[in-house]
Structure formats: structure tokens, C-alpha cells
Symmetry: C2
Subunit: 196 residues, 2 copies
DNA sequence: CTCCATAATCTAGCGCTGCTAGGAACACGC
DNA sequence: GCGTGTTCCTAGCAGCGCTAGATTATGGAG
């Protein structure tokens, strides 16, 4: 039995190697550089080996994205729990989020721009995704008042995502980014929002 | 001289034909279906003709995106000016924006997701882009108070963009979208936001 | 009207992509 | 040590963006 266990262990290890290689290559040269040939060369196996682990290239991207969500959740948690009051917590979480998007553009791409097959906001949602989202819920709930915290978290996340994306793509200037972020924070914290 | 004028007219007409064909193909089957071969077949010319009009495929996408911005500007303007008070104006503009993104996903992709070469927020920014952005500035400025209207417009635009994108990609549920939008509007209108 | 230079267009092909069938090489159980 | 079953690689397909060079159409001159 031990021999099969070893095989499974080796396979799992190799799968992890592929994911890491894809991530590193993407972060170093962008996702365009992540071709199955280059990836295979990097892990020192032939192309078909990749397909024995993943259904296709999209599945590899998805695996990288999942890692990204885990990393993000950890960073958001660290930022949030390092804060004193709720307002500070939301501010730090926001700054951490935008910093993540800005400093790991390829990873962020995998999570939010590339075609991936992840079940969002369903019972099957992976733990890492859930964890990242929960950080948002925790951070916004003190400011939610009579509003549903999850709904507010989604809205705030979306707003941050928009800011991060547009800035990263040069659609809005990097200049005064901090002011925009402060503006967003002020909008979401100053007053309870109770629509309708 | 008239003969050269006719040639130029024909060329301009054909260029427009290419852009329209690309747009229609993208809207019908997504941008993946817009290959130079299929596009050439559709306009009933060979591939090199495309390259006599555009430097590459990205340039065609950019041309489509530019059309998109013009369309969007018109729709935003219509929505905004149909409103009574400033709060209603912002609400209608927001709804129109999200509807645009949702109903013309391929066009919206060209404008905001695909790799295009457009100078945003610079003196060389095309009129269509500027017009769309100006609609945002007009709509938010009544709620800006002591804040820079352009900055607030960028921030609000980004928030809407985030909402539209995440919903379109299934990252947040379509359910309760109206509530999220109302939440966002309430956050940006209820109180003057004066950071720092 | 014919000829010819020039301009416009097409054919064919390059190097690349994601992906896969079929044969070769390996590791394992006996 | 040897069959057997698994693992892996070589080689290739169809399609991609893009382009060099041959081919055809066009418009002015004689």
C-alpha cells in the first residue's frame, strides 16, 4: 500500500510544482507568457503531463487563482486585525486590498479577470474564497447598522475592485489614488446607508 | 482629384464596415470568435486588407471600444437629463451604466477589459471618452460639496465598474443587484465626503 | 483603344498556440 | 528475470496573428 501512497504523494507534489511554476511565470512575464510549452519546460516534463493533472490551461489558472484567494485572505486578515477601531480596520483592509491587486497584478488577474471556473457565492464556494469574503464582512459589519452586512461587503468589495482595476489599467490616473480611496471609505463609513 | 476623393471615401467606408463587423461578431459570439480570418471572411476581403486599415487586431478592438464610449456617453446623457432632481439623476445614470455593461458585454469588454491602446485622462483623450466621463462629473458634482468633482466622478465610476464586472462574471450574485446599487447610491449621496 | 506603371488585393506561409493520439520506456508484482 | 500495466514523450492537428511576394485591377499616356 505504501507504494501507491508514495505515487499519490509524488503526484500531489508535482501538481503543486506546476501551479507554482505557472504562478511564478505569470508574475514574472504576465499570463501571455504562460504557454503550455513553456510551463512544461519549466517543470521539466512534457506537455501531456500537464493535462494528466489539469483538464486544460484554464484549470491551471483556476488553481493559481485559488492560491491567490488564500494569500489575499491572510493579508486582509492581518491588516484588519492590526487595527484599533472599526474605521481604522476598514481603512487598513482597503489599503491592503488595493496593495495586493497592485503588487501582484498577474495573481489578481487570475482571480478576477481571467476565465476561471470557480463557484462564487454558492454552497460549493472554496474555503479560501469564503475566507477572503468573510474578511470583508467582518470589516464592514460595524458600519452596516441596519443593512445586511454581506450585501454591504459585496458592494464595498466591488467598489475597491473597480478602483484597483481602473487604476492598474491606466483608466484612471495613479495620481491621487489615496484621495479616491479616502473618498470611498468616507462614503461607506460616515453614514448608515439604508436604501428604499 | 475627384477620383482620389472617391478612393478615400471607399476606404473610410470599408474601415467602418470592418469595425461594425468586428463589433457584431463580438456581440454575437464573444471576442474569442473575432479572429482575423473570420472577420476577413465576414467583410468579404482577405486578411491583409484588415492590416492595411489597422496596425493589428488590438487596433480593431480599440476602434470598437471607441464606438462603445460614444454610445455609452449618449445613453448616460439621456438617462441623466431625463431626471428631475440631482439624486434621481445620479440614480438613473447609474442604472443606465450597469444596464449598458450588462446588455452589451462584448462592447463593455472592449472598453474596459481587453487590451486597447487608448489615452485615458490625458490631453489626448478622445472626445467620446471625455464625453462619457463628463456625464459622470455632471451627475456627481451636485453631491460633491467641497470635494473635487472629477475625483468623485472617478471614484463613483470605479465603484459602478466593479459592481458591473463582478456581477457579469458571476463573482457576486445577480440577486439583490438593485439593493447593492441603492446601497452604493446612498453611500455617495447621503453625506458630503471630505477625507483627511 | 492599347499599353504600362502603379496601386490594390490575394495566396501562401511562418512561428506560435492549446490540445491529443499512439508508441516508447519505465516500474512493479510475480 | 520477466510479463504487465502504468507513465511518459514524440509528433502532429487545427487554428491563431501577422506578413512577404505573387497577382490582379486600375487609371493615365500615347
Amino acid at each position: 500500500m505504501s507504494i501507491q501512497a508514495r505515487k499519490e504523494r509524488d503526484r500531489a507534489q508535482r501538481e503543486k510544482l506546476i501551479i507554482t511554476a505557472a504562478r511564478e511565470l505569470a508574475e514574472a512575464e504576465g499570463w501571455d507568457a504562460v504557454t503550455t510549452r513553456r510551463l512544461a519546460e519549466r517543470v521539466e516534463y512534457s506537455q501531456p503531463v500537464l493535462y494528466s493533472h489539469f483538464k486544460g490551461k484554464d484549470a491551471i489558472t483556476t488553481a493559481v487563482a485559488l492560491e491567490g484567494f488564500a494569500d489575499m485572505a491572510a493579508e486582509l486578515r492581518a491588516a484588519r486585525t492590526a487595527a484599533g477601531d472599526p474605521a481604522d480596520a476598514l481603512a487598513r483592509l482597503s489599503a491592503a486590498y488595493v496593495a495586493f491587486a497592485d503588487q501582484r497584478p498577474a495573481l489578481y488577474d487570475a482571480m478576477f479577470s481571467r476565465k476561471v471556473n470557480l463557484p462564487f457565492a454558492t454552497p460549493q464556494t472554496p474555503a479560501a474564497l469564503r475566507a477572503a469574503f468573510d474578511e470583508f464582512v467582518e470589516a464592514v459589519s460595524p458600519h452596516a447598522h441596519d443593512t445586511d452586512a454581506a450585501l454591504l461587503a459585496e458592494t464595498f468589495w466591488a467598489a475597491l475592485h473597480g478602483l484597483a482595476m481602473l487604476m492598474r489599467d491606466g483608466r484612471i490616473p495613479r495620481e491621487h489614488h489615496d484621495l479616491r480611496l479616502a473618498l470611498l471609505l468616507a462614503s461607506f463609513t460616515h453614514r448608515p446607508a439604508s436604501p428604499t
